[in-house]
Amino acid sequence: MGTKLKTVSVRLEDRAGARVSKAAALARQSKGAFLARAGEEAARSLLLAWAVQRHASGEASLSELAAETGVPIEAISEHLSGQRSEEATRMYLASARRLAEALKTPAFYAEAKRAVKAVRKEGVRDESE
């Protein structure tokens, strides 16, 4: 069964139309296919940015955001991770340090730092694969 496609008409001024024609030719696509892809990418990017804000403020869960945006839950999760990973890791280390000080177990913080170092290495390896 074929995918259902929705038709959207756009009106472009001459110069914008010429730019779209040239770009579509360079991408070896029809103008329609080019604009459809560009629109989809722009929509996804905007929705992901919006999802990051909503999740960070605690207004919506991943499940709610996926339902509201139509973007897969894992795509939202990965995007959030890319945006906030460093800050979240710093918070983790700060918590571990405070706890180690309170419990007078400096080795605990040392282990937490080693764990973070190992995870950062994993991240670098993942990106290079």
Binding site: S63, A88, L99, V116
Partner: protein
């Protein structure tokens, strides 16, 4: 039947530790599954629980992504069951979270594995005992399934993911820190 003694406690700070003599039934939401996959505890999870997921959770986790592909593979192998609650008791939150909470409401003996703070709080208010992925990781340390460094690495992975509430991570860190302290005293 495997005999297992396990510790677990829940997200609210109320320590509702439980002793696990047999594999328990459990259900989960998509965020818990993603976090379990990222932190590499799926194997342990399958040993600890007979897992059932609501179909909405399966719908949310697409096969285009690694954790979704893993879930669907395990469903096809029959190692995870897909079940739905007969009644939609709760109508808030996302579809996967609703599906998981509704299943847990109808199966009060099941463990509810869930990570997002708002539905976790709502589940607690309904008398359910949700377990978050950081607290599940801490229970692995308590049971001797992971050593201190390994479990702190699991928590560091969850923190780096940045989709787990820092409050839930702090709770697990506290549990591990206390256990480490008790072990060294």
């Amino acid at each position: 039947m495997r005999l297992r003694s396990s510790g677990g406690s829940f997200t609210s700070g109320r320590d509702r530790g439980y002793n696990q003599l047999v594999r328990q039934n459990a259900t989960l939401d998509s965020s818990f599954w993603i976090h379990a996959a990222v932190s590499d505890v799926i194997g342990q999870l399958l040993e600890d629980f007979d897992l059932s997921v609501a179909s909405a959770v399966g719908d949310e986790l697409t096969e285009d992504y690694a954790s979704g592909a893993l879930l669907h593979g395990l469903v096809r192998e029959g190692r995870i069951l897909v079940r739905n609650a007969e009644t939609e008791t709760i109508d808030r939150f996302g579809p996967g979270e609703r599906g998981a909470i509704n299943l847990a409401i109808e199966n009060r003996g099941w463990v509810l594995l869930m990570d997002d703070l708002r539905p976790v709080r709502a589940a607690e208010e309904m008398g359910l005992a949700p377990v978050s992925s950081p607290v599940y990781a801490a229970s692995l340390y308590r049971r001797g399934g992971r050593n201190e460094r390994a479990v702190l690495t699991v928590l560091a992975r969850l923190a780096a993911r940045s989709t787990v509430s820092p409050q839930l991570i702090d709770l697990a860190l506290n549990q591990i820190g206390q256990m480490t302290k008790e072990g060294s005293d």
